[in-house]
Amino acid sequence: MDLSALQAIAPDAATPVDYDAFRGELVDYMQAHCPSAIREIVRTNQKLGRREWSEWQRILNTRGWGAPNWPREYGGTGWDLRQRYIFEEVSAQLDCPPLYHHGIGHIGPVIMHFGTPEQKARFLPRILDGSDWWCQGYSEPEAGSDLASLKTRAVADGDDYVINGQKMWTSHAQEADLMYTLVRTSAEGRKQAGITLLVVPLATPGIEVRPIPTIDGWHHVNEVFLNDVRVPVANRIGEEGGGWTCAKFLLDRERLSPATVPRLARQLEQVEEMLRARLRDEGASPSLHGMLERLFLAQASARGAREMLLSAIQEEMVGTLRSAKSSALKLHCSELAQDISTLAFDACAARYAPRLRPVVPAADGADERDPQRQLVHTYLFFRSRTIAGGTSEVQKNVIARELFEA
């Protein structure tokens, strides 16, 4: 699809946009202002932390580009979809960090849609400038794919809710200020009806965050224990019992992230560079031919994913997007991300799988900057791509239900 198709349905289109000039402006700014140390971290596939993300968020916000997906009234760019897609392409191409999903991508739009004026004034500016950092408290030990079975309870007590329970797989909780979390406020009726969305400051007494060691060797997920944690009723987003509606709103947005495909394309470029270097250094061989075949298939598949995303965005804007398509996109992109990372793993695992973590890391950070070592981390981390944000099995059920109308 030509990107121009997205122009006609721009949300805030005021004056005609020169898209080539816009792309040039993005390139110039990102090249000049994204710190080289941060770009190096992205380029070498290292794990990003709050420090890098928030610095880039602050810089973008200074330029007025902190929230490409937000409307102008909340400090967003008001860009049309073509501009947003170009932003993501340029950002990925230049190894700038993606926008931090929990703040800008997830809870920001939920607060805009369901929050009170006070909540919008309190939370949105601090998401925009990167001063507040958010995490998502959804999953629990017994509530993963079946999120509506969550048991963490919140009981109203005067002007507060008192929360008890446990959240799990809470990414970035170790470095977040605030957790938007789903809690059970009623056991009556349908289980979805008794769920409420609360904002919980993680410095509140009664909260304990414990890391979950994962196979990739990175620290990104945690268990969060809540023991008689008091938060004001003013921290409730939407109505009591309206949490499921907020969650569905958010999950629908999660499946349609314009950032996904450009990042896949950049990963493919990196793998192609690696295979070309190997071809140059070692010459052609049956195994390299096999890897190139997989690369070509992934390249074509990524192109297909791009078209799928663009048409899905277009359909979303005019209200015709089917759940089957957004789920198909999530399914396709997560599996493609795994295919690409598996190919990269196969190319460098013989050397780096036995040497994933140096017992005494090099003082100058050289180990961390080795992109091939990080590709092994990435391969292991990307096993979660078909689990987090709705497993592939759940996506297939959504698609099948719609295709068969049952």
């Binding site: 799990m168 195994s287 013989a350 005494v360 096993r383 979660s384 099995e393």
Partner: protein, 362 residues
């Protein structure tokens, strides 16, 4: 836990190894040293060593029973390296040093970490070189998970490029180590040496006999790596069935969802196929090692191990990502077993080059 996997070679050794593995503390950070000491006490370094050298002179199948059982708990010990590959290398040498060391190995008084840089089916790294009585280069990825007394490895003779089998005492190496932790929790070390003096008795074997010993040791490690993969695969299926049977989502055990059941069935079919192949090849290998069959077996079993590792993680959901879950550690064990002694690329290269040579010669 339901028993689904059938041991490749059931018997006392399998049961003993299984009990030992099950008694070890679980978890990613569990220290393997105590388990390893127990294995030395049980004489496992001597299982494959001839009786005249103080070993048990057992069949390869007997030792495979141990390897498979340990793999079902993803135990991070260099059982194949220390108990099969190193004794095979030492056993191929005629000299007094090698013979004496092999006897100590069989008794558990010494433990030798082997490295094969130049094996035909797994050219792993540029080997160190020996010029006169001086050794220089890197001995790559020596397993350092549990204490070793010696390292035995292949090097190249600088003047002739002939392969050499070299023995070093670890006391000579401690200042040259760089250690890493791998995806399966095992530690390996790259050992850099520059102009290190090696005396004649340390050069255990040279030329064609050394090349043959290296190739055979690699094939032995390769076959036993397949055994470890099969052991991990069987355990992954059992763990997955248990998880799906007990984990309730949407009001029902996950095991009631047909799509998930079918994926486990796919795992099981692949496992049984790999298991049959590996069992047959272990029995055949003991009597008439066939390098092509070893490479073919490995090529196939590696694919099965990868696909079962992926499926196990996926079917465990988030728990499949946690190092604290046995299923996740089994997946890492299977992935790493598929890389030691040659990955799929190595097998493919070797198999294709063989066909090319045959066609050219026809």
């Amino acid at each position: 836990m339901r028993t689904i996997a059938t041991p490749l070679f059931a018997g006392d050794l399998h049961h003993t190894a299984l009990r030992l593995a099950q008694a070890q503390p679980s978890g990613a950070s569990a220290d393997a040293t105590a388990a390893w000491r127990h294995m030395l006490e049980l004489g496992w370094q001597g299982v494959l060593v001839d009786e005249e050298s103080g070993g048990a002179g057992a069949e390869l199948a007997d030792f495979a029973a141990i390897v498979e059982a340990l793999a079902t708990r993803a135990l991070s010990v260099p059982i194949i390296e220390r108990c099969a590959v190193a004794p095979a290398l030492l056993g191929a040498c005629d000299g007094a040093v090698a013979r004496a060391l092999l006897e100590r190995v069989a008794r558990g008084d010494a433990s030798v970490a082997p490295v094969l840089h130049t094996a035909p089916q797994h050219p792993a790294a540029q080997p160190p070189t020996v010029r006169g009585d001086r050794l220089s280069g890197t001995v790559a990825a020596v397993d350092w998970t549990v204490p070793a007394t010696h390292v035995v490895f292949d090097a190249l003779e600088n003047t002739s490029d002939a392969p050499l089998l070299v023995l070093l005492d670890v006391a000579e190496l401690s200042s040259h180590l760089r250690c890493y932790v791998g995806i399966d929790g095992r530690t390996s070390a790259d050992i850099e040496v520059a102009e290190l003096r090696v005396d004649a008795p340390q050069l255990l074997l040279r030329g064609a006999p050394a090349a043959r010993a290296i190739a055979r040791a690699q094939q032995l490690g390769s076959m036993l790596g397949c055994v470890a993969t099969v052991g991990a695969c069987g355990a992954m299926i059992e763990q997955t069935v248990e998880h799906l049977s007990t984990r309730v989502q949407f009001g029902s055990p996950l095991a009631t969802f047909q799509a998930l059941r079918h994926r486990v069935v796919d795992m099981y079919v692949a496992y049984e196929s790999a298991r049959g192949l590996v069992r047959d090849q272990v029995l055949a290998h003991a009597h008439a090692p066939d390098p092509r069959q070893v490479a073919l077996t490995r090529f196939y079993v590696q694919g099965v191990g990868r696909s079962l590792a992926d499926a196990t993680i996926q079917l465990h959901g988030g728990m499949g990502m946690s190092q604290e879950t046995l299923a996740a550690r089994l997946a890492m064990h299977a992935l790493m077993s598929a890389l030691r002694y040659g990955d799929r690329s190595d097998c493919l290269e070797w198999l294709v080059s063989g066909v090319v040579e045959e066609v050219a010669a026809a």
